[in-house]
């Protein structure tokens, strides 16, 4: 009976795949890459690699690439000629590398010198089939002087022809592409120029674009980290302008990045607009000068939401589509170094320009808090800079830690308000942890700093710390307390009396989680029909019986002093009711209908009393 739990349903049988090359080309070109435009990148990559290979045998070799746009003529579609003066290929290499997918002229050397080449997959050229039906390549190897030039003609159905040429050409490779119908847009001077700049901006090999008589070097602008500056203002301007141009957005600051691991150099730009905690920053990443992608997410630690980077990496390994990196140790190490750089920047900022750091934190507050609340590393970076509302004014968590051995907090905004005044007058620093993520941040603090005391203060236990009355004083207050208990019983509130500062405060209303819940049940009961009313009542009784809210009078307050002298219980009752409602309002508790009625009655009676006095004068 139990067989289906233990045995699988499949029996494996082996078959050989039938591979249709045309289909594979289609698959690669349309699904592996993000769009047809990447054929430019693939051609440039092949060119750069070929030049690199040639430099290994001719150290002094000056590489260059030339791209020529030839407009449509008569019935001929527009054409692109892509030329490099790199290593070139022999006939044998042409067969080997261009006929076998996955083979690459770079693979053999790979084990030895992975660092030198960008491409690894031998499929780059195939991407040209996205924009052309036929690829014509003329290549001559620089390795073997006597070897003739080779012409290779490949078609998108997977067939190709090779012939040796008799004419003499200089070593290197020339690729001719004729626009496929509908793809002419990729063959204009402007579009090609834009794409070459987009992908090859940082390449050190000069790239020339020509169109008719016109020729121009495309990539002559160097990134800010490669330039030399006379002043720090000049440097700052240069970095920020570059970032602005590149991303089309304004940044408030920049951080130069450099990491041995991954061979990374570049800059991180501090975003000037708030980020959402759930959206990751997209970085612009070049690999050996060639743009890999402007959508890379995994380059920085997760907490680095406030920056957008542009970097050039020398040793990171791209994924097959060359639009992101493999998650490997090198990337991990790079991320750590870059994270350290950002962290060092923040710490420096905290020392030298704390207001600028505050601006950044303010701007990205939600994102930073949400990450710091869940990520220990992020907490270590930002924790100290996050500000809390406290009974001693706004303060960073770092300052709180410096000043106090114990961090005390109130867990809701209401609770904080209930105790703020009292705590402040006693020089007690209590943090308001009622806002989103605040409490998680504090539990993270506890986790990160096990020696630090982090303590929740609820309003109810705060009053335990207030000064008690002497026996005689207590007797004076007896009637007030008794009347108050009876008056407040229907509101599930008990009374007490203590001495506390400020003396201007007549009462504090304190509650706790359970009493709050009971109160919520009671408020809801007023709305609900009988079916639900009974149930809510049961909840209220169940929870409120153990935990009452409390109205604590201040013995030092003048009004309370006067109240203790009054013997008339009706008057006492009314005043207690008013004090109760006032305390609720001060603590921002929603009022029930009954409490609202108390407030109205009380106010009317007061107005009445005032008018009565006026009357007496007449």
């Amino acid at each position: 009976m139990s067989s289906y739990i233990t045995e699988g349903f499949f029996k494996l049988q082996q078959y050989q795949f039938q591979i249709h090359l045309g289909g594979i080309i289609d698959l690669l070109s349309h699904h592996l890459y993000s769009g047809p435009h990447v054929f430019i990148r693939e051609l440039m990559q092949n060119g750069v690699d070929a030049i690199q290979a040639r430099k290994q045998i001719e150290e002094e070799h000056q590489g260059r690439m030339d791209i020529q746009v030839v407009d449509a003529r008569d019935d001929l579609p527009p054409t692109l000629v892509f030329e490099d003066n790199g290593i070139g290929l022999t006939e044998e290499e042409v067969h080997r590398f261009l006929a076998t997918i996955g083979e690459s002229s770079k693979r053999n050397e790979l084990a030895v010198r992975r660092g030198d080449f960008i491409g690894q997959f031998g499929i780059g050229l195939l991407s040209c089939f996205m924009v052309a039906d036929e690829i014509l390549m003329i290549t001559r190897s620089a390795r073997e002087a006597g070897h003739p030039a080779v012409e290779w003609r490949g078609k998108s159905d997977g067939t190709y022809e090779v012939r040796l040429m008799e004419t003499d050409v200089s070593p290197g490779t020339r690729v001719y592409l004729r626009a496929r119908k509908g793809m002419e847009a990729y063959f204009t001077k402007d579009q090609v120029g834009k794409l070459v700049r987009h992908f090859g901006d940082l390449l050190s090999t000069p790239i020339y674009l020509s169109h008719g008589d016109w020729t121009e070097r495309i990539n002559d602008r160097r990134p800010p980290w490669e330039r030399v500056y006379v002043s720090s203002e000049e440097e700052r301007r240069s970095y920020l302008e570059y970032g602005n141009d590149l991303f089309g957005q304004h940044f408030i600051d920049y951080i130069p990045l450099r990491s041995e691991a991954g061979g990374v150099v570049g800059a991180a730009y501090v975003l000037s607009q708030a980020t959402s905690p759930k959206v990751k920053s997209h970085h612009r990443v070049y690999l050996k000068g060639m743009l890999l992608s402007d959508q890379v997410e995994n380059l920085l630690p997760d907490w680095a939401v406030f920056v957008r980077c542009v970097v050039n990496a020398e040793h990171l390994r791209p994924v097959a589509s060359r639009e992101g990196f493999y998650e490997n140790e090198e990337l991990e190490a790079t991320r750590t170094v870059l994270g350290e750089t950002l962290r060092a920047y923040l710490i420096r900022l905290a020392e030298r320009a704390p207001h600028r750091l505050q601006d950044i934190i303010q701007l990205h507050h939600m994102a930073i808090c949400s990450l710091a609340a869940h990520d220990e590393e992020c907490f270590r970076v930002f924790g100290d800079f996050i500000t809390f509302e406290t009974t001693m004014g706004r303060m960073t968590l770092g300052d709180c830690r410096k000043r106090y051995d114990t961090i005390r907090y109130a867990s809701s905004v209401d609770e904080f308000r209930q105790i703020a005044q009292v705590a402040a007058s006693q020089n007690l620093c209590i943090l308001n942890a009622g806002y989103v993520y605040n409490r998680e941040l504090l539990s993270m603090l506890e986790q990160v700093e096990p020696d630090l005391q982090v303590e929740q203060v609820d309003a109810a236990n705060l009053t335990h710390h207030l000064e008690d009355l002497t026996l005689e004083e207590r007797e004076k207050a007896f009637l007030l307390l008794r009347t108050a208990d009876l008056t407040l019983q229907p509101y599930r509130t008990a009374s007490d009396i203590k001495k506390f500062e400020p003396t201007t405060l007549p009462t504090i209303y304190t509650s706790n989680e359970q009493a709050n819940f009971a109160r919520q049940a009671r408020l809801t009961k007023e709305l609900a029909d009988d079916t639900w009313g009974g149930i809510l009542n049961a909840f209220e009784n169940e929870y409120a019986s153990s935990q009452y809210a409390q109205l604590c009078f201040n013995f030092k307050n003048r009004l309370i002093q006067r109240l203790m002298k009054i013997q008339d219980r009706t008057v006492l009752k009314r005043v207690v009711e008013m004090l109760y409602v006032q305390a609720l309002l001060m603590g921002h508790h929603p009022l029930s209908d009954k409490e609202m009625a108390l407030l109205n009655q009380g106010l009317l009676q007061m107005i009445d009393a005032v008018l009565g006095q006026e009357g007496d004068f007449e």
């Binding site: 989103v436 819940f517 049940a521 079916t531 009974g534 909840f539 929603p590």
Partner: protein, 378 residues
């Protein structure tokens, strides 16, 4: 008070979205208070709608229920609110609330039945199938010991149309399996029914976790320990997610104790004990208490005097030195607590089921079946 309270409420709702934890519940309660102070009905709805969801799936059925009843009351006052302010189908959620009522022994039988009437009325008003209501009536018949009605409810339930208001297919399949297990006592047939779940073709937030947990104990009792152990291993993560899973955690502790895997039982106990102590969902919590009782009684039987446990300081049994507890004291406390809660439920239900279960647990302890060695090293 700041004028941007709406933004704060929204932030809280966003932050709590999909996060089923005590903290998310507390934050949403705060959002509710904010809306109420400003007498903002719209945000009162939105905050409570999230609270109903989050509280329900994190073991705070009481809070879910109060928020839900507020929504119902407001909609009774002004039916337009339902379409205007609510993102999700209110009646779909009524099922959660109605089925959670039995969790609280201070809610009387009559009050529970009244709510089911109310649910039925509202379903009828909206032209919905009675299938979801019948499903609740089935559970109540089980809870209140009306065994003779159980089969009747089951058959009626099966005949009622599925119009999307009923439980999801995974939950319904799990329910049919339960019926075969606990009413028809047919384990083989139950396994056959659970097949689509066990093969991973049906799943939801509760399935397969609770299916596996249920089968784990049933297979154990049938002497099929190795299969049971596989069920345990596949669902232990489920059983320790949050306070909503206390019953599953309790079953796992019981099973691991009965198969002599005490260290694994203790790990689950440590992880969930603090939530169990605080939980207000008494019957959910009760299953955990039962599991813990079995665990510590068993340890005492084996002559163990002390045990090291990583527990929070608010744990109701005192330790003699940090983290070192007296096994006897633990066994006593959990036995006492189990009896106390069983009293509450049996009194409300007018049955002796909860006490009978406690006796059965002790009987089971006489049938310890250690796992064969090879299964342990999996």
């Amino acid at each position: 008070m700041s004028t941007d309270y709406r933004q704060r409420i929204e932030e809280i709702i966003d932050a709590a979205d999909g996060e089923e934890s005590d903290r998310a519940v507390a934050a949403l309660e705060e959002a509710v208070r904010l809306a109420d102070v400003h007498q903002d009905i719209e945000w009162g709805f939105k905050a409570r709608e999230s609270l109903v969801q989050v509280a329900n799936f994190s073991g705070h059925g009481d809070k879910s229920l109060v928020a839900f009843s507020w929504i119902l009351a407001q909609i009774d006052k002004n039916p337009e609110y339902e379409d205007r302010y609510l993102r999700y189908d209110l009646m779909w959620r009524y099922k959660w609330i109605a089925s959670s009522l039995t969790n609280f022994p201070h809610i009387s039988k009559e009050q529970i039945l009244n709510v089911v009437e109310d649910m039925e009325r509202r379903y009828k008003e909206r032209g919905l199938s009675m299938r979801a209501v019948e499903r609740i009536r089935y559970s109540l018949a089980k809870e209140f010991g009306w065994e003779d009605k159980v089969e009747e409810h089951f058959e009626r339930w099966q005949s009622l149309p599925q119009d999307g208001s009923q439980d999801c297919e995974a939950c319904e399949t799990d329910f049919i399996m339960d019926h075969y297990l606990f009413h028809r006592n047919d384990l083989d047939q139950a396994l056959e029914i659970a097949r689509p779940i066990l093969e991973g073709r049906l799943s939801c937030i509760g399935v397969p976790g609770n299916t596996l947990t249920t089968l784990m104990m049933e297979l154990f009792e049938a002497g099929r320990v190795e299969e049971a152990d596989r069920m345990q291993r596949k669902s232990h993560r489920y059983a320790t997610k949050n306070a909503d899973r206390l019953w599953a955690a309790g079953k796992h502790i019981q099973f691991l104790t009965l198969t002599d895997q005490l260290p694994r039982a203790i790990r689950i106990f440590e992880k969930m004990a603090s939530a169990a102590v605080k939980s207000r969902e008494l019957s959910n919590r009760h299953t955990f208490i039962r599991g813990a009782r079995t665990l510590f009684l068993r340890m005492a039987d084996r002559g163990r005097k002390k045990v090291k446990l990583r527990l929070a300081t608010d744990f109701p049994v005192a330790c003699d030195e940090p983290y070192r507890y007296d096994v006897q004291a633990l066994g006593d406390w959990f036995s006492w607590e189990a009896e106390r809660v069983a009293d509450l439920f049996d009194a409300r239900n007018g049955t002796s089921d909860y006490h009978d279960e406690l006796k059965e647990d002790l009987e089971l302890m006489k049938k310890i079946q250690p796992l064969p060695r090879k299964a342990k090293v999996e």
